[in-house]
C-alpha cells in the first residue's frame, strides 16, 4: 500500500485529505464525525472577532446539469456565526481527542495589526496545528474590507502574513482568492510576508442562476439575491490551472500548496497532487454526499499509486508540473487523429454532426442498406478531440498520436524562413 501520510508546512496528517474551511467544519460535532469517517485533517470554519456575524436564511445555490446534481455550487454564507469562545473551546477539545489529525484554524479579522495580534494567541492556546488566513471569501466579508478584499491587494496579503508570522509560532497558510487576474501576485506577496504555504482556490465570484419567477439571482433572500462564491466540480479546471501556475513558477517552486476546488474523487485528488499540490482540501463533495466519500478517495488514490509505483505523496506531488508549459513550447509537428472503433459505435451520429456543423467536416456518413456508419476522413482531421468528447460510448472514439516527424515550437517557427515564405509547418504541408 502506498504511504498517504502527509507533512504539509510542518503539519502532519495520516492522509492528504483535509476538509476545507466551510460549514462541514463549523462545529466539533461535524469535525468529530469527519475524523471518524477517516479525514486526515480539517481547516476549521473561519473565526472572526466577536460579536459574531449574522448569516442570512437561504444560503446555497446549485448548478445541476442533465441529471447530475450540483456540478457547481455557490454560497452566500459568511464566516462562523458562533461566538469565538465557543469555537475555541471546541477546537481545543477536538485536537486533544484526535492528536494524529491536522487541525488548522481559518482566520479573518479586520486588516489591522491589533486585531491579528489579539486573536493569534487565543488560537495558539487551543493546540491547533496551524492557521489559514482567509483572504479569499468573495462575498459579504469582502464588502467589509476582509476576505477577498485583502486577497486582491498583494500589499495587504504580505502585510497581514507578516503580522501573523510575527505574532505566532504556528505555521501560516495563506488562502488565495481566484478572483484576480494573476494568481502569482498574491502568491508572491504571501511568500514575501513569510507564509509557510498557500492554499487555493477559494470560491469564484458567481451568480449561480436567476429565479425567473422572482426575477432575482439565486439563492433568493426575501426577494433579492447577491453574488456568491462558486465551487464544486465545475471549478476544478480553474483551480488546477492556478495551482499549476504557482507550482511551475521558479520563485515559488518551494512554497507548499494545499490544492482545492472541485475535488470529488481520488482521481481529482491525484490530478491536484500531480499539478503541484502536496495536501488537499475538500468541501462541496462532502456537503453533497457526506463524510463517507473520503473512504474511496483514500482507497482509490492508494490503489492507483500502487499501480503506478508512487510510494508516497512526495513521489507524486508535482509530477505533471514540468509538462505544464506555455503554448509557445508545444510541438507544432505533433499530430493526433481520431479513430472510431466500429465495433463499439452505436451510430448516434453525434461525432458527425459536431464535426460537420462546428469543426472540420472530417467525419463522413457511410453505411449501406440503412446501416449507420461514421468514418474519420483522416486527411481532414486536425486532432481537435471534439468527436471523442461528444461520443457517449466509452473508448469508442480514441485519439491516436501519429509518428512525430521532428520538433518545432512556435518560438522556433515564428521567425523561420519557412513561415515567412508562407507555408505551414504543421502536418508536413
Amino acid at each position: 500500500m502506498a504511504d498517504l501520510k502527509t507533512e504539509f508546512a510542518g503539519i502532519r496528517s495520516p492522509n492528504p485529505f483535509w476538509l476545507a474551511s466551510a460549514p462541514p467544519t463549523d462545529k466539533a460535532y461535524n469535525v468529530k464525525r469527519a475524523f471518524e469517517a477517516g479525514w486526515g485533517g480539517v481547516v476549521w470554519k473561519t473565526l472572526g472577532e466577536d460579536p459574531p456575524v449574522v448569516n442570512v436564511s437561504s444560503r446555497y445555490g446549485g448548478l445541476h446539469h442533465h441529471g447530475r446534481k450540483m456540478i457547481g455550487f455557490n454560497n452566500i454564507e459568511l464566516i462562523s456565526d458562533r461566538p469565538l469562545a465557543v469555537n475555541i473551546a471546541e477546537i481545543k477539545a477536538v485536537k486533544a481527542a484526535y492528536p494524529d489529525r491536522a487541525v488548522v484554524v481559518s482566520l479573518m479579522v479586520p486588516c489591522e495589526e491589533q486585531s491579528w495580534r489579539a486573536i493569534l494567541p487565543i488560537v495558539e492556546e487551543t493546540g491547533a496545528d496551524g492557521i489559514e488566513l482567509n483572504f479569499g471569501c468573495p462575498h459579504g466579508m469582502s464588502e467589509r474590507n476582509m476576505g477577498a478584499a485583502v486577497g486582491q491587494v498583494p500589499e495587504y496579503v504580505e502585510m497581514v502574513t507578516r503580522w501573523c508570522k510575527q505574532f505566532t509560532r504556528m505555521p501560516v497558510i495563506v488562502k488565495l482568492t481566484p478572483n484576480v487576474t494573476d494568481i502569482l501576485m498574491p502568491a508572491r506577496a504571501a511568500l514575501r510576508g513569510g507564509a509557510d504555504a498557500v492554499s487555493l482556490i477559494n470560491t469564484v465570484q458567481s451568480i449561480i442562476g436567476v429565479d425567473l419567477d422572482q426575477m432575482a439571482p439565486m439563492p433568493v433572500v426575501d426577494g433579492m439575491g447577491t453574488h456568491g462564491g462558486y465551487c464544486g466540480p465545475a471549478v476544478k479546471p480553474i483551480a488546477l490551472r492556478m495551482v499549476g501556475e504557482i507550482a511551475r513558477d521558479p520563485g515559488l517552486a518551494h512554497l507548499p500548496i494545499s490544492g482545492m476546488g472541485g475535488i470529488e474523487t481520488w482521481r481529482d485528488a491525484a490530478e491536484f497532487l500531480a499539478m503541484g499540490a502536496s495536501a488537499l482540501q475538500v468541501c462541496t463533495a462532502a456537503m453533497h454526499y457526506g463524510f463517507r466519500i473520503v473512504q474511496d478517495m483514500i482507497d482509490g488514490l492508494s490503489a492507483w499509486m500502487d499501480e503506478k509505483g508512487y510510494q508516497d505523496i512526495h513521489a507524486l506531488s508535482g509530477r505533471a508540473v514540468r509538462n505544464y508549459v506555455p503554448w509557445n513550447t508545444l510541438n507544432l509537428k505533433f499530430r493526433t487523429i481520431a479513430h472510431i472503433d466500429q465495433e463499439r459505435c452505436v451510430g448516434c451520429g453525434l461525432c458527425h454532426i459536431a464535426c460537420e456543423d462546428t469543426s472540420h467536416q472530417a467525419i463522413a456518413v457511410g453505411g449501406v442498406s440503412g446501416a449507420r456508419r461514421y468514418d474519420v476522413i483522416e486527411s481532414e482531421c486536425v486532432g481537435c478531440n471534439l468527436c471523442a468528447h461528444v461520443c457517449p460510448v466509452a473508448e469508442c472514439i480514441t485519439m491516436q498520436p501519429q509518428p512525430v516527424d521532428g520538433h518545432v515550437t512556435w518560438r522556433e517557427y515564428e521567425h523561420s524562413a519557412e513561415r515567412l515564405a508562407g507555408c505551414s509547418v504543421a502536418h508536413g504541408v
Binding site: H66, C348, P392
Partner: protein, 444 residues
Amino acid sequence: MLQQDIASGRLDHEELRSNFAQASPPLAPMQAVMESERCFYCHDAPCIQACPTSIDIPRFINAIGNGNPGGAARIILEANILGGSCARVCPTEILCEQKCVHNLLENGRPVRIGALQEYATDWQMAQGSQPFTRAEPTGRRVAVVGAGPAGLACAHRLALHGHDVSIFDSHGHPGGLNQYGVAAYKMADDFAAREVAFLLSIGGIVFEGGKSLGIDFTLDTLRQDYDAVFLAFGLGKSRSVGIEGEDLPGVMDALAFIEQIRTQVLSDIPVGRRVIVIGGGNTAVDAAVQARRLGADSVTLAYRRGPEQMSATLAEREWAQTNGVSVRFWSSPVKIMHEDGVLSAVAFDHTPLGQHDQAPRREVIPADMVLTAVGQLMDPGMVSAMHVTMRNGRIVVDDQYRTSLPGVYAGGDCTEGMDLTVAAVRDGRDAAQAIHAAFGQDRE
C-alpha cells in the same frame, strides 16, 4: 348433458376496475425528466426513421428534459395528432424503441420513448386545448369516410388548413379501432374519446355518426357534394377460420368481444370459464388477456405457426403469458367440437417443437368459449359500393394517396401496408396534405 360455462360477473367490481385500469402507469414529472436525460440526442436519429409518422423524437425528449412539455407536445402533435393514443398502442418495441441506440449499450433498455410521448401529450391534453389554430376557412369541403385514426388525422390536417370536413362512420362515436378495437387497459379512462374531443376542437369538422357507405350514402353522392373524398373505413369484417363449428354458440369474433368490453359495463360481459383464442396478432393477445382479466379460469392462445411468424410482438406475447395466458404454437385448428350442439372443445393439429418432420398430432383442448382473431377482410358491402381499383382485397393508392377515381383518396387499413395505428395516422395526415396541395393547384 354438457353445461357450457359462460358467465358474466366472475370478478367483483373492484377487481374488474383494477384489471382494466391503465396497464402501464404514466411517468411522473421527475421520472420523465430522468428518462429524458438518458436520450443521447442522436443526429438523424434512428428512432425517427423507425416512426411511420417521423416524429422528431430526440427534439421532443430534449424539450421534456428542459422543462418544456408544451413544446414537446407540439413537436409530437405536429407530426402525429393522435400521438397520445400512439404512445399507448404503438408496438414501440418493433418501431422507435427497437432502434434506440441504447439497445446496443444496455440490451433491452432503450429510452422509453412511448412513455415520454404519453407524458408530453397528456400534459398538453390536461391544458384543455390543442396548440394549433385553424386557418381561415377556404370554403372547400371534404368528406372523410371512417372516423378511425386515418380518418381523424386526415380531418384534423384538412381542418387546420381551413377546409370543412364531414366524417362519416357507421359507429355512433368517432375513434374507430382506438375506440372499439384495442384492449381497454391500453386506453383506460375514456382516453380515446377524450383524445377525439381534443382533436375535433380544432373546429371545422362535423361528425356524421351511424352512417354507412353503401347504405346511408354512396360514394357517387359524396363525390358530387364534396370537393374531395378520403376513404378510411378500415376493413370491417373479421376473417373466418374456415373450420367446422364456427357457427356454434360461444364462438365469437375477438374484435366483437373487445368492442363489448369497450362499450359495456364490465360486470355484464359474459366470458367462458375456459377460453381458446385462435390467432397470433395483437387482437388475439388483447382478447386473450382481457378474457383472463374478466375472470376466465384458463385462456389458451393457439397459433398455427411459430413465434417468429407471430405478428404479436415478443412484448405482447410476454404480456399475455404474465397474465396467465397459455400460448400454444404450431397448433392449427381443425374443428370446433360440440356435444349435442354445446361447444365443448377445439381440435388442433399440433406439431411439437423439434418434430416438424413428423406428422402433426391431433390434440383436443376443452373450451367453453372460442374467440377468433385471424385477421380482417374488407367488408364486401364496402367493396361493392365503390368502383375503385383493388389489389389483394385492399384499395390501391398512389404515392399521393389517390385512388383510381379522381378526387377520391384513401388510407389506413383499407389500403395496402402496415396495419398499425401510427401508419394510419401518417396516411391520413399525408393524404390531407395531398388533398390540400391539389386544391392549391386547382386555384392556379
